[in-house]
């Protein structure tokens, strides 16, 4: 098991291809057919295109604050390639690849960022929770789901995301600890993209890496090059198999870099420098994978054209979101409880009376 060979205490990083796409360790490379590799690349590319367009929609004022995934695509696309339909995704907000693999549509995502909760009512994404914004709090939900899976003897895995910053929250430690004690099938991924908004990971903790935090909870941990699709794929494969087989939880630290801003309201030039950005740009997961495919000669498609097609698709979904049924007063009240309490009915009626007054005043 690679988890045994890459002890976080020695600060090793599991990596399979280098920045030039050259295979570093053929023995550990996953046995994937060309089609699967291409499919993964395309998933990353689609996520990238969607992300870039999302940022520009936001700039056009057609959407509110949006947190781009750019640079981190390999991680969640690898998870998407491993997970089964019944596995539970407990997301944070920067694993678009896994969301799409789960069946969440861009239309839903855009709808959400247009400010409509209906965007979290995923019509086709089975076993997928909406984003829980308070940092690290969602990890505990994954552990609870893990308990259900174990208790009901299901053949499922819950997989959950958190950022490097999120590892500082008490809930992170509580989640790993409960998962360890309960030995539930949960795969935790820390996307260590080096920053929590403006705060670099070196100001977040004194531990030599984040994977080593697994020690404190008696669960396996590993640090992986998160911009290396193949390494992430292998790590996820082992982690999901391990968890599914009833061995308990696993922690993966995926080293990566947020290419873009924290969100569209953020300006990274305030806290990071060009040199660092350029250094990491060389490790862009898409470029590395493309180089790999080029060397293998398996990538034949016209990428420009593909991107054009993707753009059309993204546009289409964006427009669908824009044309979504307008928000009703009812939508404010309707889902607070399974049945609307009298108190809420009264508040709604009073508001309607005000609206009538307002209407009549004109």
């Amino acid at each position: 098991m690679i988890f045994n060979d890459f002890d976080p205490k020695e600060d090793k990083t599991f990596r399979l291809i280098d920045n030039e796409g050259v295979v570093l360790n053929q023995a550990l490379m996953p046995d994937l057919d060309d089609e699967t590799v291409i499919k993964a690349y395309k998933a990353m590319l689609f996520a990238r295109v969607a992300d870039e367009m999302a940022v520009s929609f936001q700039r056009q004022g057609r959407m509110y604050t949006y947190p781009p995934n750019m640079g981190q695509e390999a991680i969640s696309v690898a998870a998407g390639a491993i997970m089964r339909t019944d596995d539970w995704l407990v997301p944070v907000f920067r694993e678009l690849g896994a969301w799409l693999a789960k069946g969440v549509t861009l239309k839903e995502i855009f709808l959400y960022y247009m400010g409509n909760e209906e965007g979290s009512n995923y019509k086709n994404a089975h076993h997928m929770l909406p984003w829980s914004i308070p940092i690290a709090s969602q990890l505990l939900h994954a552990v609870g789901i893990g308990y259900t899976i174990k208790y009901l003897k299901k053949d499922e895995v819950a997989f959950a995301y958190v950022g490097d910053g999120g590892t500082s929250e008490g809930d992170f430690s509580e989640a790993l600890n409960f998962a360890g004690v309960w030995q539930v099938p949960v795969v935790f991924t820390i996307q260590n993209n080096q920053y929590a908004i403006s705060v670099p990971v070196r100001s977040q903790t004194k531990s030599i890496n984040l994977a080593i935090k697994a020690y404190g909870f008696g669960i396996p941990g590993i640090k992986v090059d998160g911009n290396d699709f193949f390494a992430m794929y292998v790590a996820y494969k082992e982690a999901f198999d391990y968890a599914r087989a009833g061995n308990g939880p696993v922690l993966i630290e995926a080293l990566t870099y947020r290419k873009g801003a924290h969100t569209t309201s953020d300006d990274p030039t305030k806290y990071r420098n060009k040199t660092e950005e350029e250094e990491w740009a060389k490790a862009d997961p898409l470029i590395r994978m493309k180089k790999y495919m080029d060397q293998k000669g398996i990538w034949k498609e016209n990428e420009e054209k593909l991107i054009e097609a993707y753009k059309l698709e993204v546009d289409k979904q964006f427009e669908e979101a824009e044309n979504f049924t307008p928000y009703q007063l009812d939508d404010v009240f309707q889902h607070m409880y399974v049945e609307m309490p009298d108190d809420l009915k009264r508040q709604k009626t009073e508001y309607e009376q005000f609206l009538t007054w307002k209407e009549n005043r004109k």
Binding site: S120, L129, L140, G144, I145, T148, F178, M336, V338
Partner: protein, 331 residues
Amino acid sequence: MEGEQKMSVMTLVQAINNALDIKLAEDKTVVVYGEDAGVEGGVFRVTEGLQQKHGVERVFDSPLAESAIVGTAIGMALSGLRPVVELQFDGFTYPGFNQIVSHVARMNNRSRGLFKAPLVIRFPYGGGINALEHHSESPEALYAHIPGLKVVIPSTPHDAKGLMIAAIESDDPIIFMEPKRIYRAIKQEVNDGKFTIPIGKAKVLTEGTDVTVVAFGAMIRECQKALVMAKEAGISVELIDLRTIYPIDKETIVNSVKKTGKIVIVAEAPTSFSVGAELMAIVNEEAFLHLEAPPKRVMGFDTIVPLAKGEHFYMITPDRIFYEIERTVNF
């Protein structure tokens, strides 16, 4: 809603234990856990015997972390279980506050009904037991102010059982606060079978005409003692047990106040920004023209609940309730 008619004398602790037992037996998705809730059966023995009967996978001890207890219960609830979790004391619900406010209360709304969170968070609350700091709190107003929660407080073994079964069966998340001071102080004949009491309905315990007294939890017993004094003084009191703090049963309160024109609210929590304030707001909004005296809150001081030596100053006593009833009636 009443089931079979066999009755047993139960304390509040036994009644809740019985409710949990019935639901555990009947519904395999119910699980019960918390600090010391398994082997030991809880520090107040509310879950005693349940692990032995229903197995360690269904009734168990958790590590010592309230945020995790609540947070994992959410995950269970979203994925098909009906967890009933115990937080050890009122004052130790706060490490779980973020999970309660940010998630328990919001999963349904956040997912537009795709996910429900049918979980029960139960904990002993209130003063009067000479306890350490943090062991005598009455935080019902905090939870009642959070949209998306329902807050239930029983005052008798019968109600505790019926409300607990209703809480477990509810698809909405329930904060279930147990008046620890009367955990064993009140014994009552309770139906052995399964029955529920609707959440959101107050109960008129005594009808009266001069003044309405609204209370809940351990304060009901104190009010009943005050009522004896009131009767002696020739005052006819209508006593209402709120039972659910949110959604609050405005109708029962308002109808009563329309009749009596006066209201005294009795509760243990600090006075300001409390359930008492809300009840006063409600009667103003719904029965203003019927009010014949200023509504009165007989509640805790805006202080920390004192330790044992000072607690008697803080706790609401029957004579204090009577004193305020009399003043209100004579306004």
